[in-house]
Each structure stands twice: as structure tokens, then as C-alpha cells.
Symmetry: C2
């Protein structure tokens, strides 16, 4: 996008959103008045809704595509589609790139074939690759036919990688130079561009075969002697990425080294593209989002205003899993029904043991999942960490077990019931610490995402385990 | 930092970490052998531990400060301090900037006054401001005394803002020019620098009073006619930040507009600093980290290898809160002890109702907290979203309530028990949806962070509520 739209701060963006909402509200009122003229005292101008929409269109035209995207995401479906209708078709592509996956689907659904082709044709190969999975196949083929050979190869390459790989996120818009020219020549060469690729903070130095030899930072270029050769001022100690590397690993490297752009090379060392920090920021955001969502048992980002049925489907799977684990816990209690019927206080006290165990286990598992994701923990340290977590849980177990055991003693007048409560708390917290280390390590070892399902699994262990330990101890010692 | 250290990919970093760990392991063995010579068959070279440490020192010297920081974070405390001892003192400051807060504290604790002053003296004012809160006061004063007037003013300004404000994160290292000079003059001016400030992607254009007039992007400068005036090629439609704006809002703007740097201006429009994308990436990472940690009931980032007592303290508060809420739920059950003693199946079934409610409520609350944090939802929409969430929960309630109600019917042979189960599931999921919308909206309205404690609060509602609804319905209709 060459046009510079006004950027605005958070407050101003909220004001823009509020204005759009007022215009939408007014639109509904006006349409209502015009369609039912008898209801309005003075006759309404039949063109009023038209003028109002025009005002909305003007407002949208002034907004940055990312801001339009933000507004679309914040609107309920019908309002969103009305706004989308008012957006200039020439900006559809840029805006579709900015919205979240869920909202993108809702917009593409209502667009016609021609509109989609138009939107897609405005995009670069790497941008197209980002949209392609959500587009109807027919549209992708048609747009592909209009690309030149190089772009088509780039698009196909980008589409051949999983979306969490570097290859799917790299772009192809980069400036290449040779090492044997002077900085003066490079500056003259750059001046021939109409515009340098976005985020250009360095120029890539390649040889005759296209192999990456180094990078020339623009900051360095600007302060260097114009007669100096690129080979003399370029940096060679740099990180480059391979297209089938995990995007999350690349994002961590961007964070570590404060990178703006970085080269992507194939196995032979040939430069094939570059990564930019804006894509990496999105990776970091998506990664942490999916961590939070997974913990809550949401499959993927859900559009806030999604139709009820879509929301039900998104939340379905984990509720079902949770139902199964809750059923298992229920059967554990079922085994001890005889004990409970003899001492009904057990029923009231058992959820405390299970609940604290779940909370404590979730604390441990969150620490471990985080450390594994950031590469700060190796599986070889699991043993050491387990011993530490066990000690933490024993202190908490004795402490809080003592508190709640005393309360149980006072409440039910049975000292041995208090002791059983203390013992059960201690053992369940130790179980929580053990499973909190074990579950994510086993997941990691088997190549799965340690975050996924961790919370449900640990809660299942501490629920069933807590009920079993508490009711078991009570049956042994109290009855 | 002007020295360029080798950057390495995720795999290479893991190899470096493994090498350091091997050297540390060997060090322990060697020291053991030397101190107990009778145990070793061939006499050990008494200098062997020294040479081994030297190898460690050499390895560390080659590593980027960010990589040393990563390794320090991944090591248990005693190993970490041994490695820290081998790090060249001249790099202490750069490394302290990169490590997490928890690890930074552990390192500063063992450093002597002189070492700390040395480390701090290597830093710019904005970097110093980042470390200052963790440093002993005496060190900060001593270093402050060595700063020139401008730097001291910058440091004091940065320290005067909360650490989550733009003012605390901005840096002062920027290039300023006037609008009435030609691009050629700007290029000549830049060439006089030894090095341009990190991340320089734009130059700030100010007037005689220091007021920000626009920015000249380096990309634009490189392709512009050397004779063109800065005023003709600079951009004026840009976002600038105020020092007391939330850093999280600024980070969202960096994400929206794919910014690398952005100006910070005071109320009068005077340029006082700039924000850079690397700081914003840290803000995004920290923000999402604290979201995950808060959900799990961890107060702040905890060092993986923290002493047991520190971990206990960090997890203390939320376990105590959880204990209280669990106790309330237990008392709710206590009220119905008579019902349970008559129909002990209730004790086995009640955790299912509470558990599914908790899971469902956490799904809703995660959605709402997220939408509020991203500015995608206004409080005015709470009503609309509540109706939607209620519908989702009703579908899930009838569905899963039907399933588990049927199971209860089959298991215990009582159709009315199944019906009570269905009714309780439905009502508890509706309660979960209601509280899932209400809690974060009330927190936001009262100016608190909607994420903090949300999960504990919703679970408290669905536990106590679930037990009350289920046991209440059972008492009414079954007994």
C-alpha cells in the first residue's frame, strides 16, 4: 500500500468507532422512518438514509485499513456487513489482511466472486498466500492465472508450508546487492526505486549464485564512506532462518536480537525471502492468544459476535472432554457412597481438597508450560524441578491443610476428621505437583503442544485423585 | 552496544546451552577430584578446574548478551551464579537488561557495589531507568552523579512514570532535523554520525521550538531527489504518543500500523523521545504472560529455579483466596447434608454440575476479558453479548445436561434424578454465562484489570451456585 492513511492513538480510534456506531444507529432510525412515513410527524426526506450512508463512507475513507479492520471486529455481524458494503473495493484486500480469521471468514462469505478476485489482485504474493486458505478455490486459481511466473512460484512456495512455519510467513519483497560495489553505487541504485520495500532496515548481499553473503544495514550504509566497498562494511555474523523452521522460534530470535528483518535461506544458503518484525509480532500475539484460549478450552479465536451455533461448536469439544473427566470423578465418589452415607460431612469437605489441588496444579503446570515454550527448560531438568515443586506443595499442603483441617475439626467436632483433611490436602497437592511437571513434559516428549489440554488434564487428576485420597483416607481411619 | 555478537537460531542456542551445562557438570567433577585427590586413580592436574572455567569464559565471550541472558535463565541458581562470575564485567549491564525480572534480582543480589556501578555506567539513560528499580538506591545515586545534565534529566523523567506507561519505556537516542533543508544536506548530516541510533527507520522533523512537525522515513529519504526539501517529502499524518499513555495502547498501535519507531511528544507537541518496536514486543510478551499467570493464580513471573520459599510466597495469595471460595462452596453443601444423607447419589453427581459450569464460565470470561483488553468491546455491548452467551449456554445446557441426565437415570434408575440433573446443568450454565459477562465488565468499570482473579471468581460462582442449584432442586423435587 503506497497511500499513507492517518494513524491514530487508542483514544482517537475509540472515538472513530463510536462515530461509526452512531451513524449505524441513525441509519436504522432513518430507514425505519422512511419505510413507515405515517409514523413520522414531519415527512422525512426519502434521501436521508442515503446521505447518512454517504457520511459513513466518507468517515471510512479517511481511516487506515488497520483501523477499519478494528472497527469491523468490534461490530455485530449485521452492522459489520453494512460497514463492509461502504468500504471502497480498492481497499478490500488490505483490510482483509488485517482482520482476525473469524471476522475474515464472515466478510469473505458475503463477497461475490468478482469482488474477491478484485481484492486478491491488489495483493503481493506473500499477502495472497495469507488469504488463500480462506478464499474459495476458484478465486485463488483465477488470481494465480494473472500472476507472472516469479510471483506464481512465490505463491506456490508460500502455500506449500504449514502456516506456523517460517516459509508461510516470509515475504519476497527485498533489495539484493553484490559485495564488490561501493556504498555510493548502492545509494544510487536505491534512488532508482520508486519505493523501498516496507521495513527495509538492511539490504541483502548475495553472490552470482544467489547465495547470501551478508547484510548491509541501512544505518551502516548512511554513515559509511561512499567509496567503501559493501564487502568491507557488511555484517556477516547474522542469524538467518530456514523456511521449514517454526515461526515461534524465529519470533523468539527476533525478540532476543531486536531484529527488524532477517533473511530466509534454503539448505544451500540461497536467499529466498525475508522475515519482517510485523509478522513476528503477529506470531507472538497469536501464540499467547492460543495459549490463553487453549487453557480456557476454546478451540480457536472466536468472533465475539459469531452466530450462537458457531460459538457452541467452538466450545463443544472441551466441554465434552470435561464432561468425561467430571464423570470419572463422579464415579470415584460413587465407589465411596457407603462411606458418605455414614459420615455425610465428607460430601461437604471433599470439594475443598479437589479444588485447592486443581488450583495448585494449574500454577505448577503454567510455570512448566511457559518454560518449555520459551526454551528455558530442557526435559533433563524435569527431575530437579519435580523435587522443587514437591517441596513447595508440601509446605502449602501442611499449611493450608492445617488451616482447613482445624476448621473441619471445629465445625464437625472430630479431631481425626481434621487429621484426615490435612493428610488428604498434603497428598493431593503432592499429586498436583507431580502431574503438573509430568503432563507437560510427556506432551513435549511426544511432540505435542504442552499447553493444549494441560489445564483440563491436571484438573481431572486433582479432582479424581482428590476425591479418592480424601474419601479413601476417611474410609480407612474414620469408619 | 556497538559490538556485533553472533546471532544464532533456536537450535544453535540450545546447543550453546547444552555446552555450558556440560562445562558446568565437568567443573563439579573436576573440583571434586582435585579436592579429594585420594579418590582419583591418576593424580588430577590441580589446574584442571581453572582451565575448564577458562573454556566456559571463552564460550560465553562469543555469545550475544541476549543469549547469555537466556542461558542464565535456564540454569539453576548455583550454576547461574557460577556462569555470571565468568561473564566479562563490561557486559554485565547489557545482560542485566535482557534477563527477566526474577533472574535479574538473583544476579544483582550477589553483585558488589563497585560491580553494579560499573555495570550501570555502561548504560544509556533509558536503559538505566529500566534497571534502576531493581538496583540498590546508593548505586543509582552514584551513577546519577556521573551523568551530564541532559542525561540526568532524561533519567529522572523516565523514573517519574509508572513502568507500564509510555514515558518509562521511551528512549532519548534520536535524530532530529529541520524541515527547511534538502535531502542532500540530511544525508551529509547523517554521515557525520559514528553510528545511527538502533532501529532508526525515520528521522524526526522539528521546528525552532522543538515542536514535532513531521517525520522523514529513511526509506523515503533514500529514494528522494537529493535537492528536494525535507518539508516536501516528510510525512505529517502520523501517530505520536504522550508519555503518560498506557504502554499497552501504544503496543496495539505499533501492531496496527506496523511501526518500527514512533515519536513521543509532550502536551505542547514538543518532541521528547521515541518508542521502538523492540520495547513494544516486550510489552506484548509481558502483557500476555501476566494474563496467563494471573489466570493460574501466580502473582508475577516466577523464576523457574527460585528458592522454594519464594515460590511458596508467590503462590500463597491465590491459594488462600481459593481456599476461602472452596470453603463457601463447602458450606453450601453443608446446608444440604440432610438431603445427601437421604440420597447419597447427590454427592457423586454434584461435582459434575459444578465442574462443567466452571469450564463453560471460563470460556465466556476468557472471550470477554480478551475483547476488553484489545479494545474490541465496549461496556455498552455487554447487554447484547450477555444475551448471546445465554443462548450458547442454554444450548450446551440442554445438550450436555440431557446426556449426563440420561446417564444418571440409567445409573441410579431414577428418571426424576435425571431431570433434576438436566435442570441443574441448564441453570448453572446460564449462571456461568451471566457471571462470565458480568464479572469482567464490573472489573473494567471500576478501573481494575478484568483478567486479574476472573478465573477464581467465576469458579467460585459456578461451584457454590452449582451445588446450591443441584442440591436445592433435588431437595425440592426428589425428597
Amino acid at each position: 500500500m503506497t497511500v499513507a492513511f492517518k494513524q491514530q492513538s487508542a483514544d482517537r480510534l475509540q472515538e472513530s468507532l463510536a462515530l461509526v456506531q452512531r451513524l449505524l444507529e441513525r441509519q436504522r432510525q432513518l430507514e425505519d422512518l422512511v419505510s413507515r412515513p405515517e409514523a413520522s410527524e414531519p415527512p422525512t426526506d426519502p434521501l436521508a438514509p442515503h446521505y447518512n450512508l454517504e457520511a459513513l463512507r466518507l468517515k471510512l475513507e479517511q481511516l487506515h485499513p488497520a483501523d477499519v479492520a478494528h472497527i469491523l471486529e468490534a461490530l455485530p455481524l449485521e452492522d459489520r456487513l453494512l460497514v463492509w458494503d461502504q468500504v471502497d473495493g480498492a481497499r478490500d484486500g488490505a483490510i482483509l489482511l488485517e482482520v482476525s480469521d473469524a471476522v475474515r471468514e464472515s466478510l469473505i462469505e458475503v463477497m461475490e466472486h468478482g469482488e474477491l478476485v478484485n481484492a486478491a489482485e491488489q495483493l503481493d504474493a506473500d499477502e495472497l498466500a495469507e488469504l488463500a486458505p480462506d478464499m474459495p478455490r476458484q478465486v485463488v486459481y483465477e488470481v494465480m492465472g494473472g500472476l507472472d511466473e516469479e510471483e506464481r512460484a512465490q505463491l506456490q512456495s508460500a502455500l506449500s508450508y504449514d502456516e506456523d512455519k517460517v516459509g508461510a510467513l516470509m515475504d519476497f519483497d527485498l533489495v539484493k546487492i553484490r559485495a564488490d560495489v561501493s556504498c555510493e553505487v548502492v545509494l544510487r541504485y536505491l534512488r532508482r526505486f520508486d519505493e523501498l520495500p516496507a521495513h527495509t532496515d538492511k539490504i541483502f548481499v548475495i553472490d552470482d549464485l544467489g547465495l547470501l553473503k551478508g547484510v548491509l544495514s541501512i544505518r551502516k550504509l548512511l554513515v559509511s564512506d561512499p567509496d567503501a566497498l559493501v564487502a568491507e562494511v557488511m555484517a556477516t555474523e547474522l542469524v538467518s532462518f530456514s523456511p521449514d523452521e517454526d515461526a515461534a522460534d524465529a519470533a523468539l530470535a527476533f525478540e532476543r536480537y531486536d531484529l527488524i528483518t532477517a533473511p530466509v535461506v534454503d539448505e544451500a544458503g540461497k536467499l529466498i525471502g525475508r522475515l519482517t518484525v510485523d509478522e513476528m509480532v503477529d506470531v507472538i500475539r497469536e501464540e499467547s492468544d492460543s495459549e490463553v484460549l487453549n487453557l480456557a478450552g476454546l478451540k480457536e479465536e472466536e468472533d465475539l459476535f459469531a452466530p450462537v451455533i458457531d460459538s457452541v461448536k467452538n466450545r463443544w469439544a472441551w466441554l465434552a472432554i470435561n464432561l468425561c473427566t467430571a464423570f470419572v470423578a463422579s464415579r470415584v465418589i460413587g465407589v465411596f457412597e457407603h462411606s458418605i452415607s455414614q459420615l455425610v460431612a465428607l460430601a461437604a469437605l471433599m470439594p475443598i481438597v479437589a479444588g485447592i489441588g486443581g488450583n495448585s496444579g494449574n500454577q505448577t503446570i503454567t510455570m512448566i508450560v511457559r518454560a518449555l515454550a520459551m526454551g528455558q527448560m530442557q526435559l533433563s531438568q524435569a527431575w530437579r524441578l519435580w523435587r522443587k515443586e514437591l517441596r513447595v506443595s508440601m509446605i502449602n499442603g501442611v499449611l493450608w491443610g492445617g488451616v482447613i483441617g482445624s476448621v473441619a475439626w471445629l465445625l464437625y467436632g472430630s479431631f481425626s476428621l481434621g487429621l484426615v483433611m490435612l493428610g488428604a490436602m498434603l497428598l493431593n497437592l503432592m499429586l498436583a505437583a507431580t502431574m503438573g511437571v509430568l503432563i507437560p513434559c510427556l506432551m513435549q516428549r511426544s511432540g505435542r503442544d504442552p499447553a493444549l489440554g494441560s489445564s483440563v488434564l491436571i484438573t481431572a487428576c486433582t479432582d479424581s485423585g482428590g476425591f479418592f485420597i480424601f474419601l479413601g483416607l476417611a474410609t480407612l481411619f474414620l469408619l
